[in-house]
Structure formats: structure tokens, C-alpha cells
Amino acid sequence: MKPKPYMNPYLAGIFLGFVLLTTIYITGRGLGASGGVKSAVLFGVEQVAPEHYNTVEYYAKYQKSNPGSPLNSWLFYEIIGVAVGAFLSGIISNRVDLKLEKGPGITNKTRIGFAIAGGLLFGLGSQIGRGCTSGAALSGMAVQSVGGIVTMMAIFGSAYMVAFFFRRLWIR
């Protein structure tokens, strides 16, 4: 079966906006993503090297402000939901398929390498900037936060600045 076309972007946006609004109404906070990945990272460190987890500055500080298991965090549960929701949507619209998506001019190996590098930078940047496109940019816009909007402009501004140099990755 052929994958169904994507939803009208404005309709999808309104839907996403209502999800965000509901979240703010119920919990008083917005959505996020990188923070959930951080919880998983902290959990990994706690399991693999408990002593390290208890002594090194960042982890010790985190434990003090967030007692209990690092997985016991709002954003971790939220990103599990994100994966489930995306999977459901993929099933409904016939888009679940084990494949690799890339620009026309590069090999699979190159794509994987750059995906890891990009993820690494995004992960690092999200911690410095206190939030990613979801937590800072989207949720920040909903509450008109200057911090969120400046982060958003920095993300997109920087992406536009370097887009030209990496055009071979994506277009012919």
C-alpha cells in the first residue's frame, strides 16, 4: 500500500497547537524533547557507573534538585509518548518502513555519519541553550518567552548560514 499524503500543514499546526495548549493548561509547562533524552543519558550513567554518578559535579547537582531515579521525569514519559504517537500515526498512514532517507548525492554511510554528528551537535547545543526546537522554540513561542524566541532565531539563523556549505548533503 502506498503511504498516505501528509496532513495539510496548517491543519497539522492547529492540531499541534491544541496539544501544546492542553499541555500548558493541565501542567503549566510546555512540551520538550532533548530533556527526555537527557534523562535517559543520566539513567545510563547511573546504571553503568554509580560511583561516578554520585561524585561528578553535574550528576551530583542534578540528583540534589531531582531526587529519585533520573527516569522519573516528566519529559522522559513524554518522549516515550512521542514515539508511541508517531508510530500510531505511521501505522494509520502507512508510513512505517525500515529505511534510510537522505539527499540524492550521498551514500548511506555518509548519511549515517552526518546524522550522528548532527545529533551530537544538537544534543550538546540543546543543553547549552536550555532547550531544543520543542522545549525552547515552540513552547517558548506559546508563552511569548524572549529566551525561547531568541533560541529559535539562533537555531534557524545558524542553519541558514551553514546550509550553503553543506548543500551537497541534501540537493544536487
Binding site: 491544541f18 493548561y25 514515539a83 532517507e101 547545543g125
Partner: protein, 398 residues
């Protein structure tokens, strides 16, 4: 009044909420096309601006809702999480994220979506983001010096530009609409196809697009919930209170001595006056904080009668009306100032000369009241102060 966490829903249940809204988030992102890396990156090469359209529409929808809910008094905007502004971390972190976006073709949320529908490159991106975050936590001392540079607090655009948030909202909407129009033109030029929607569709877009602008405009020109309540209070406080709702000094003293458990005395003066001495057992809610959500349960409690006290009787009268607006069914007030109460009860003057029995009885009552209430005051001083709920602050962000 929302947010529902932590007052109505517990923090534990909040994690279930997180999972449920996460499903909605993931579903919306996937349906919007965010699980396709080519679609995401199209934004930067001009062939597909879907992401920008979904993103801005979502932001505008949520922003309009937040402003409307706040205006109607459904959502307490003073406690919701506003991402703090740190100038340098935002610029440096954002700059790094932008490069990551071009190299990897995802952002953290979209990579999870794409991985969930089986995109191998997205799995690689998630692995990369785990490594990136690990580098940050492991080498935190290296990044720490820049983390707090340019701290401006939880600043909102409306504070930064000293403009009402509705005007800021309307400006953002206009910017978004202009962006939608021009990016569609760019898309057409890059793809070489004219995909201008039919006249009818254009009309639909215009109508839907006008809704948030109209909402913002109405919010701007109509009084908000608090203003409306205050106007009502001002009007109602001109009406005489029924005598059953009024307490004079002697009645108050008598009730406190004999049936203190039936009353909840609320002092609405400022903190300095309250500290200088109030009526024994009185809790303190300054008049200008009475509207705050944390005190509301006190007005609504059904077991005790609230008695409002203060020095400015007009203000106490307003406090009674405000409590009534906020759910108190039988508020009462002391028809004398706190200072008068203390003078009369704590400094009884023995009548001299030829006095009738009634004056003497009154005097004996005051001596008795002084003894009892002083004891009561002393006892309460040693007890823990009445529990006043702290203002909740909500943590958010990534």
C-alpha cells in the same frame, strides 16, 4: 482555574499526563511531515516549507489559547513556565543546534518520531544526541562559565518591548502570515510548479487566519476576569450588608472566647500592620493578594464562617464582596478597626463613680475577654502558624 498540576492533579499523575500528551505530540509531528528528514531540511533549501508552516501555526494557536484562557481567568498566567533568557547560552547553544540541524537533518523531537516509524538515519541521530548530551554532562565544568552569561530572567516579549501581549501576538501572527505567503511563492519558484490554492481555499485560509487576530483584539479591548470581578466588587460593596453579617467588638470578643472554632478570622491589612498586632487567631491575606489562587480554598471552605477584619472599613467591606465573588457564601466583617478592637478589649477601663449595673457588667466582660484572648494569643504564638499555601512555581523546558 488551571494549571491543574499540582493543585488538582498530583505530580505522580502528571507523568501519566506526560505520556498522553506525548502521544498527541508525536502523532501531530508525524502527520505534519516532521518524520521526513528531506521535508525538514527543505526549509533551508527552499523546496519545502511545510515545517515552518506547521511550526508557526502551532505556536500561534497555542499562544492565542494561552492569552484567551488567561483573560477569561481559566489559566493562572503568573505560574506557568516561561523559559528563562540567558543571552549567550541561547545564542551559542542555538548556533550549535543550527549546524546540527543541517548536518543531521533532524531535531531531537523529530528524530524520535522518525525513529519510531523506522528511519535508520533518525536512529543514528538519536544516538548522536545521546553522545552530545553525555559530553555536556561529563564536561560540565567546561561549559559552566558560559551557562549564566547574560541572565535576564523569565522575560516575556511583552515585558521586553513594554507592549501588551495581545499586540505582540498580533504582530507575530502578521509576521507568520507574511512568511506563509512568501515561502509558498519560493516553493513554487524552486519546484517550477504553480501550486497557488484555489480561490475557495484561499478564502478558507483567510477566515481561519482571521480568528486568532480577532481573539487577540477582543482580549485587548475587553476587561479581563480580574478587572470584571473587581468592578463587580466595587458595585456590590455600596450595598448595605445585612446585620447578621456584621460583628461589633463585643460580639467578636464573645464569639472568639466561646466559639472560636466556628470562625476563621482574616486580616486584610498590610504585613506591617498585621505583625504589629492583630486579633488572636487571625490569618493574614493582604487585600491586594486576595484574588490569588492559593487563597481561594480558604474562602470556599464550608465549615467555618470567615470574618474579615482591617483598619480601613471600606476596604474590609470590599474584601467581603471579593470573598463572595470568589466563592464565600456567608462572609462577615468586624465593624470596627483592629486597633479599636485591641484598645477596647485589651485595655478595659474601670468605670468610676456612680455607675449602673450594665456598665459594670460590660467592664467585667472586657476583663474576662482580655484574660481569655491574651491567653489565646499566647497559645497561638507557640503553635505553628496557620498553613498558608506557597505560590507554586512550575519547572519546564528541556
Amino acid at each position: 482555574m488551571a494549571p491543574l498540576v499540582p493543585e488538582i492533579l498530583s505530580n505522580e499523575f502528571n507523568l501519566v499526563i506526560a505520556f498522553i500528551v506525548g502521544i498527541g505530540f508525536g502523532y501531530a509531528l508525524e502527520q505534519g511531515g516532521f518524520s521526513s528528514t528531506r521535508k525538514l531540511v527543505g526549509l533551508f533549501y527552499g523546496y519545502d516549507f511545510t515545517v515552518l508552516k506547521v511550526f508557526f501555526t502551532a505556536g500561534i494557536t497555542a499562544m492565542t489559547g494561552v492569552i484567551l484562557f488567561g483573560h477569561l481567568g481559566w489559566l493562572d498566567l503568573s505560574v506557568i513556565y516561561v523559559n528563562p533568557m540567558f543571552v549567550w547560552p541561547a545564542l551559542i547553544g542555538g548556533g550549535i543546534m543550527g549546524v546540527g540541524f543541517i548536518l543531521g537533518g533532524f531535531c531531537p523531537g523529530t528524530s524520535i518520531c522518525a525513529a519510531a516509524v523506522g528511519r535508520i538515519d533518525a536512529v543514528a541521530f538519536v544516538v548522536g544526541s545521546v553522545i552530545g548530551i553525555f559530553i555536556f554532562t561529563e564536561f560540565y565544568p567546561v561549559f559552566e562559565p558560559i551557562m549564566n552569561m547574560g541572565a535576564l530572567g523569565n522575560l516575556t516579549l511583552s515585558e521586553a518591548f513594554s507592549m501588551p501581549s495581545e499586540i505582540v501576538g498580533i504582530l507575530i501572527i502578521i509576521i507568520a502570515f507574511v512568511a506563509f505567503y512568501f515561502t509558498s511563492k519560493i516553493e513554487d519558484r524552486v519546484s517550477g510548479k504553480d501550486r497557488t490554492p484555489a480561490k475557495e481555499t484561499q478564502m478558507k485560509y483567510a477566515v481561519v487566519g482571521a480568528i486568532p487576530v480577532l481573539v487577540m483584539f477582543l482580549v485587548l479591548i475587553t476587561p479581563n476576569k480580574k478587572e470584571a470581578v473587581m468592578a463587580e466588587v466595587e458595585q456590590n460593596s455600596r450595598i448595605e450588608l445585612a446585620s447578621s453579617q456584621l460583628m461589633d467588638i463585643d460580639k467578636m470578643a464573645f464569639e472568639l472566647m466561646n466559639r472560636a472554632h466556628l470562625y476563621n478570622v482574616i486580616d486584610v491589612r498590610d504585613t506591617a500592620s498585621y505583625k504589629a498586632g492583630s486579633i488572636p487567631s487571625a490569618v493574614h491575606i493582604p487585600f491586594d493578594q486576595m484574588y490569588e489562587r492559593r487563597f481561594r480554598s480558604m474562602y470556599r471552605q464550608p465549615y467555618k464562617t470567615n470574618v474579615f477584619i482591617g483598619d480601613d472599613l471600606d476596604q474590609v467591606r470590599d474584601a467581603v464582596e471579593l470573598a463572595r465573588e470568589l466563592g464565600d457564601e456567608d462572609p462577615e466583617m468586624l465593624v470596627a478597626s483592629v486597633v479599636e478592637f485591641r484598645n477596647k478589649v485589651f485595655n478595659p477601663v474601670k468605670p468610676t463613680g456612680d455607675v449602673n449595673k450594665q456598665r459594670l457588667d460590660e467592664y467585667r466582660f472586657h476583663v474576662d475577654a482580655k484574660r481569655n484572648l491574651e491567653k489565646m494569643e499566647e497559645r497561638l504564638k507557640n503553635m505553628s502558624k496557620p498553613v498558608v499555601r506557597e505560590k507554586v512555581t512550575i519547572q519546564g523546558g528541556c
